[in-house]
Each structure stands twice: as structure tokens, then as C-alpha cells.
């Protein structure tokens, strides 16, 4: 469904990713794992059009998308939930969720259905509905961010470090939710440094190191690989 072929990208003169290739098939959860600065987020940014690729191509449902603007890519229901939540701080939870539907026309009825659906997944958001989003805790913000992504009716949902800065209990909730969302038919591309948890929800995974994909494997194989820790975090562990 999503096919990334040998893309490279830079920030100014600093090369961030080189010859990255990956593939996401319909219905899958694919994890892209790596330490800070490895190029995970950069890969997502090139897919969603925030960063231009210098080489290679990206195809989505057989259409080439790597020269499209971010808003056009969003309209193809490729939804990127950015790192660090990035809610609109001055809007309420509800308004943030509604902003998720900016990529397509939606009727009042549909909008309410969609809001109900998000509340069903995140019942904790209900009492916070009319609060300004900057006042929420990190975990609550992450729920809103994922909820906002779901409002866009994604064909593929790209989550950038959804566990970032959250307490362990909340982190587990987030991963359960990802599994839940996938069970409802949404394809997920998950960027994480939390390898164990990610591999428990993912079908396949890619390891990325200093801007290059160094390994691709089944999640199960990786999960039981003794060397994974070392590969990801260096030999110290």
C-alpha cells in the first residue's frame, strides 16, 4: 500500500536519512525502530510531505506522492500524528479533534459519529472535552493527538513516538490502543524507540541507524532476538 524506495533527505547540509526503503501493507502494524537521531521522524516527515526527498520515490496505492504538498498527502488519508503531540494549544479538546477532519468534507452527522467513535476509544477524554489543550497532561494530550489522527479517517496512520515522555502505565495504554485501532482496520506505521512494546503490537519492523535501514524482520523474530537490545542501544546493555 505504501512503498518507500531509496529515499534520502537532509536538513540544510546535514544528511538525515540515506537510501531508506520500506513497505507497509494493508492491515499491518509496521514499526520503525531506532534511537534518537537515527532518522525515524525524518522518514515520517518525508512521507507526509513536510520534508522534501532528495532521491528515491514514495508510492501510495500506486500513486507517486513524494512531490505532493503535505495537505494533498493528508487528503489521501495518510495521517501523520507528529512527535510531541503538537496539539493546537489554544483550541479545546473538541476543537482539536474537529481539526482532524480538515482533510475531507464531513457532514454534521458524520462529524458527530466520528467524535463518538474517538470517545469510545478514549473515554477519558469526555470530561476534558471543552478544556484548552495546553492544560492537559502529557498522556491526555497523546490521546487527543491520536484521536485527532483518527478523526481524519485514516487509511494509514503514522504515529511518531506516541510513548514519548509518558508514565509507564499510560505508555501501555497507548500501545493497547494502537492494537485496538489496528483491529478496527486501520493500517499503522509506528515510529518508536520503545522496541519491546512496539514489537508486541507490530507485525513487522525495520531497524534504522544513523539514517540507514539496517535490518528488516518479523516482529516475533526480533522480539525474541537476544541481540536486539545491543543493536538498538549499543553494546552496553
Amino acid at each position: 500500500m505504501l512503498k518507500v524506495d531509496n529515499i534520502s533527505a537532509s536538513y540544510g547540509k546535514v544528511r538525515a536519512i540515506t537510501d531508506v526503503s520500506l513497505e507497509v501493507r494493508e492491515g499491518e502494524v509496521v514499526a520503525l525502530l531506532g534511537v534518537n537521531g537515527a532518522g525515524k521522524s525524518t522518514t515520517l516527515k518525508t512521507i507526509s510531505g513536510l520534508l522534501r526527498t532528495q532521491d528515491g520515490s514514495i508510492h501510495f496505492q500506486d500513486e507517486r506522492i513524494d512531490r505532493l504538498s503535505p495537505e494533498k498527502i493528508a487528503r489521501r488519508r495518510i495521517v501523520h500524528v507528529p512527535e510531541g503531540r503538537r496539539l493546537f494549544p489554544g483550541l479545546t479538546v473538541r476543537e482539536n479533534l474537529i481539526m482532524g477532519t480538515s482533510n475531507h468534507k464531513v457532514s454534521k452527522v458524520d462529524l458527530n459519529h466520528r467524535l463518538d467513535y474517538v470517545l469510545e476509544i478514549f473515554p477519558d477524554l469526555k470530561p476534558l472535552y471543552s478544556q484548552l489543550s495546553w492544560s492537559l497532561s502529557g498522556g491526555q494530550q497523546q490521546m487527543v493527538a491520536i484521536g485527532r489522527g483518527l478523526m481524519a479517517d485514516p487509511v494509514i496512520l503514522m504515529l511518531d513516538e506516541p510513548s514519548l515522555g509518558l508514565a509507564p502505565v499510560i505508555v501501555k495504554q497507548v500501545f493497547k490502543t494502537i492494537r485496538d485501532i489496528n483491529a478496527r482496520g486501520v493500517t499503522v506505521l509506528l515510529v518508536e524507540q520503545n522496541a519491546h512494546l512496539s514489537l508486541q503490537v507490530a507485525h513487522r519492523a525495520y531497524l534504522i541507524e544513523t539514517g540507514r535501514i539496517v535490518r528488516e524482520d518479523d516482529a516475533d523474530t526480533l522480539l525474541h532476538d537476544e541481540n536486539l537490545q545491543k543493536e538498538m542501544l549499543g553494546a552496553g546493555f
Binding site: V14, G138, G165, V169, F175, N194, Q229, L233, G236
Partner: protein
């Protein structure tokens, strides 16, 4: 210093002989008057070069300072009958004081807010000039004298023009000296990155006030020459639109260029004459020209022409620059402090909290660091490590808690004060002064050690020149020690790994007590990592205590003497690397446990 400044002499010589080529009679004397006025404006525009070009601060009040200079001079000379030179001195000082006050007023302001205050000041100044009896109201002041010195009478336009030229040269020298002194480099640092400047020990406050004072002082000088040159002044010269014109002079010259600014001033004063055939359309064309220049010539007319010429020159005479010597072997620095670890606690953080809105980034962290340690702070992304570092170095104010450093309570100290106490740092996403050369970047770190003041710097006191050289030498040494020799490359043109090294060099040039490093090896390949761990050993060998944030565990186990682990804003483990990395809580924080046990 003076030798390099001599490169301006052809330009000055050119201007000096211009009067001989002017037509005889009325037309010639008219052009000469215009040239005197251009000269006065050029001096004021050079002030803007310092403020806008070097310090990156916007001001639309240069005509007000120009006016203050004109009026101060005229009132001193006409009403109080003071001598020309004393009045000139008074004009500069009074304008400079106003500049310093405005600088003080706008300390916390940036971009459009800054522009607004200066516009406000400009308009109020103009209103006062128009309405105050003391300044002659809208009639202004007439009968303003010209000087004589050593028996030379400057009453004649030609002589006065040459006098103006001498003062333009002096003003250009002040600006040039600032650009290439340690003191002036604080202005550039302010422009490039205020946060990195303050963590390098530069007081942003002092730098801003310096920039505004110099800018206003030069405006005052220019204003005095304008008054004396035209012998009559009235408020309608010192308006907002005149400020815009002076701003445009600098812009056309290309913000940072001294020659460009002088030519820009001449151009904008002569432009109305050249466009005279356009009649009413002149100002419209002028506005349009400003827009077009901004849109299509980001470096200014002069800057664009100059870089075009350079390009052509290189095209024609494709001379390769002399080969830069490859990195010499890493020199071993003489250890300046005892490289032994001791039990002396140099940094102690207790119960630190930092909240952003509803997000509790740090909640109750205690860290103790002893002299000579290499302490590593690890934890998953977003666990609050960088926030701890930022709070320590004064970029954030702690919500609650205490930090003591070498016996000082530093919670309420500003970043530059903390830096001067001996805490240096680097940043996760490297903060170099992008447009400055490698050596300038590093030398700025030496600034807190400089002792010569503003006057000493401008008067070329040998001590100031010595300190500038010393900073440059030390910067070279430090860079070579870390294995980098591309001294004159702009920082933004370096590779990622090299930028890291420059940032570290800038941090250690001041011989800090402690060095904080935020993810120094992120994004580096194996070789670069190995090189960096060597560098850290060298630094540690110099007796500098190190605190770093890192993810790469092999790197961590290799360099660390003690480890703290954070997760979701709290410490979850501490100890030596061997043991901490086996702690199940740590492994779980990094790699995650089982989903189902929640």
C-alpha cells in the same frame, strides 16, 4: 588591524578627489552640498550597520537619534556659543545616552515589538522637536557654525567636505574595529543565537545596550555634521520616513557591509536628483525599488554586485586556494587543572521540578556531581533530561527545587551568570553562530575572560588587541586539540560531526568547571563516536567535570563514572554503569515491558 583597515583607502581616496571633478559654479557647489549631506547620513547609516547588520536588532528611530545629534550640536553651538568640537562631542554623548536608554527600555523585546518602540520614540521625538520652544519649534535653528582648526577654515564647502570624509573614516574604523574584536563578536552572537550567546557567558543586556549606544552615538555624530553642513535645521528632516530611508541605505548596502552602507547613503541622497525627470513619480519608484531590492536581492545591491563580481572573478581566474593542511595529529594539551577525581561536590540538584502548562516535565530530581566525574544522565526520549539541563544552565526557571554549583545558589541566576561561574554546555540540536567562521564561534567562548572595556577596544588599547589575539590563539589550540582545522569556514558549512566539535570547543575554551553535553553523539556514525569518546577523555583529562545526556549505551558504559536514569520526569535508578544497565526498571523504561501486565 590598521593594516587591514587600509583596504578602505582606495574608496576614501576616490571620494577625496571627487570635488576636483565637479563642474564649476552653482551646479558644482550644489553637488558638493549633497555630498556633505550624504556623508552625514553615511555616518548615521554606519550606526545602523552595527545595530542591524551586526547585532540583528531592528530600529526605525535612526532619524530621531540623528535629530538629537543635530539639535544637541546646534543648541550647544548657537544658544550656548560653545566651540565646534565641544558641541560635536556633546552631540555624540547626548545621542549615545538616548540610545543606551532605548536599549535598556527594549531589552526584553524582539522583532516587531522592537520596531514599534523605536517607531514610537521616533514619532514622539519629532513631535517634541516640532512643539518645544527650546528647539525652535517648527522653525528650527539657523546660523549653525562651521569649525576652524589649526588655522584651517572649514567654512568653505570643499574643506568641510574633506572634514566630513575624515569623520566618515573614523566612524568606519569604529565599526570595523567592532566587527573584528572580541567585544564586537558579542553583538554578532546576539544576532545569531541569543540562547547560545548567553550560555557562552555573554550578557544579552550588555550587548544590546552596547549596540544601541554605538548606533545612536554614530547617528549623533552624523546629525551634528548634518547641522553644521547645512547650517540650518528644522524638524521635518527627522521624520519616520527619514528613518526608513536610513534603514534602506543599510539594506541597499547589504546590512553587514561598511563600503556598501557608505555607497548606499550616497545613492539614496543622489537618487532623487537622478530621478528628477520622474517628477512626482520619484517617491513611488523609490518605494517600489525598496520592495524589489528586498524581494530579489537578499544581500542588498552592493552585496549582490560584490558576490556577482567575485563569482565572475573566480570563473575567469579559477585559481584554487592554497591547500588547507589536513588535520594535524591531536595535540595533547597541558592539563590546566589537576585531573584527579575528588569527593568535592561541585553541583548539587535537590528536588527539582519543572512544569510546562499541564505537562510535568521534571518532578523531583536529585543529582550530585563530584569534581572530575563523568556523569551520564540517560532515559527514554521525553523523560525530562534536556529539561534538567536547561534548568541547570539558566534557560528555564525551575518551578521548584534547588541547584547549587560551586557553592552558589544558581536557581535564580541568568544563563550568562551561570556560564561565568564555570558551567558550559552544548545543545541537542547544535546551536552554533551559523554565519560566523569556526574560529569566531570558538573565540566567542573566550569573551567572559576579556578584561578590556568598550573604550579600550575602540581606542586600540594594546591590551584589547592582545586579548583578541589570545582568544584567537586559544581557539586555534582548542580546535586543533579536538582535531579540527577548518578555521575560516563558516560554521553552517561544516558537517554535522564537525559542528559538534566546534560547539564543544566553544564550550571548553573558557576552561569551565563543568561541561554539560546534550546527546553529543546523536546521529553520529561509529567512527565519529569513537573520535568523540577520545575527545571526552581529553576534556576530562584537562580537569573538567562532565555531565552528559546520552542514548548509546556502549558509549555510556565506556565513558561514564556514574549514571542517573530518568523516566517520565523522575529518577528511576542510579549507580555505576555496569549495575544500572542491568536494573530491570531501566531495561523496562528503555525497551518496554509486557503490554498485558498493565
Amino acid at each position: 588591524m590598521i593594516k587591514q583597515f587600509l583596504k578602505f583607502s582606495p574608496l576614501m581616496l576616490f571620494f577625496a578627489v571627487v570635488p576636483f571633478f565637479l563642474p564649476e559654479g552653482r551646479a558644482g557647489s550644489y553637488y558638493l552640498t549633497l555630498m556633505i549631506l550624504s556623508g552625514a547620513y553615511a555616518i548615521a547609516a554606519l550606526g545602523m550597520t552595527v545595530l542591524l547588520g551586526y547585532a540583528g536588532q531592528v530600529s526605525l528611530a535612526q532619524a530621531a537619534f540623528f535629530g538629537i545629534g543635530s539639535y544637541a550640536f546646534s543648541i550647544l553651538a548657537v544658544k550656548y556659543g560653545q566651540d565646534f568640537w565641544l558641541s560635536l562631542f556633546g552631540a555624540v554623548v547626548i545621542a549615545l545616552i538616548f540610545g543606551a536608554l532605548i536599549g535598556l527600555l527594549v531589552l526584553r523585546l524582539r522583532t516587531h515589538y522592537l520596531a514599534l518602540v523605536t517607531i514610537g520614540f521616533q514619532i514622539i521625538t519629532n513631535l517634541v522637536l516640532n512643539n518645544w520652544d527650546f528647539t525652535g519649534g517648527s522653525d528650527g535653528i539657523s546660523g549653525i557654525p562651521r569649525p576652524s582648526l589649526f588655522g584651517i577654515d572649514f567654512m568653505s564647502d570643499q574643506n568641510f567636505y574633506w572634514l566630513t570624509l575624515v569623520f566618515i573614516t573614523l566612524a568606519a574604523f569604529v565599526v570595523y574595529r567592532l566587527r573584528y574584536s572580541l567585544l564586537g563578536s558579542t553583538l554578532l552572537a546576539l544576532r545569531e543565537d541569543e540562547i547560545a550567546a548567553s550560555t557562552s557567558g555573554i550578557s544579552v543586556v550588555a550587548a544590546k545596550i552596547l549596540a544601541f549606544s554605538v548606533c545612536a552615538g554614530l547617528a549623533g555624530l552624523g546629525g551634528a555634521f548634518y547641522a553644521s553642513g547645512s547650517m540650518y535645521i528644522s524638524p521635518n528632516v527627522y521624520t519616520f520616513s527619514q528613518s526608513v530611508t536610513i534603514f534602506a541605505m543599510v539594506l541597499i548596502g547589504g546590512q553587514e557591509s561598511i563600503v556598501g552602507t557608505i555607497l548606499g547613503a550616497a545613492l539614496l541622497i543622489f537618487l532623487p536628483e537622478m530621478l528628477r525627470f520622474l517628477h512626482d513619480y520619484y517617491i513611488a519608484v523609490y518605494g517600489l525599488a525598496v520592495v524589489v531590492i528586498i524581494l530579489f536581492m537578499p544581500k542588498g545591491v552592493y552585496g549582490s554586485l560584490a558576490s556577482g563580481a567575485e563569482w565572475g572573478w573566480q570563473k575567469l581566474f579559477a585559481q584554487r586556494q592554497t591547500e588547507i593542511p589536513t588535520a594535524s595529529t591531536v595535540q595533547q594539551a597541558p592539563p590546566e587543572k589537576a585531573a584527579v577525581r575528588s569527593d568535592e561536590v561541585i553541583l548539587k540538584i535537590s528536588d527539582l521540578h519543572k512544569y510546562f502548562g499541564g505537562v510535568k516535565a521534571v518532578q523531583g530530581v536529585d543529582i550530585t556531581i563530584r569534581r572530575g566525574d563523568v556523569v551520564v544522565l540517560i532515559g527514554p526520549n521525553g523523560s525530562g533530561k534536556t529539561t534538567v539541563l536547561n534548568t541547570m544552565s539558566g534557560i528555564y526557571k525551575a518551578t521548584r527545587g534547588e541547584i547549587s554549583f560551586c557553592g552558589h545558589d544558581i536557581v535564580n541566576k541568568s544563563a550568562h551568570q551561570i556560564s561565568r561561574l564555570g558551567m558550559s554546555r552544548t545543545f541537542q540540536n547544535i546551536r552554533l553562530f551559523a554565519e560566523l567562521s569556526v574560529i569566531e564561534n570558538v573565540a566567542i567562548g573566550f569573551y567572559p575572560k576579556a578584561t578590556v572595556g568598550v573604550v579600550g577596544t575602540l581606542l586600540l588599547r594594546p591590551k584589547g588587541l592582545r586579548e583578541d589575539r589570545q582568544a584567537e590563539e586559544k581557539a586555534k589550540q582548542t580546535l586543533l586539540l579536538l582535531g579540527l582545522d577548518r578555521f575560516h569556514e563558516k560554521a553552517k558549512n561544516l558537517s554535522y560531526g564537525e559542528q559538534r566539535i566546534v560547539e564543544i570547543a566553544r564550550a571548553i575554551i573558557s576552561d569551565p568547571e563543568i561541561l554539560l553535553l546534550d546527546e553529543p553523539v546523536a546521529g553520529m556514525n561509529r567512527e565519529e563516536k569513537i573520535r568523540l569518546s577520545g575527545i571526552l577523555r581529553t576534556i576530562s583529562g584537562m580537569g573538567i567535570t562532565i555531565l552528559l545526556i546520552e542514548h548509546d549505551m556502549s558509549f555510556v558504559s565506556e565513558v561514564s563514572t556514574y549514571l542517573y536514569v530518568m523516566d517520565y520526569g523522575r529518577l528511576i535508578s542510579e549507580g555505576v554503569a555496569r549495575e544500572v544497565l542491568k536494573d530491570p526498571a531501566v531495561i523496562q523504561a528503555y525497551l518496554g515491558g509486557e503490554i498485558e501486565d498493565a
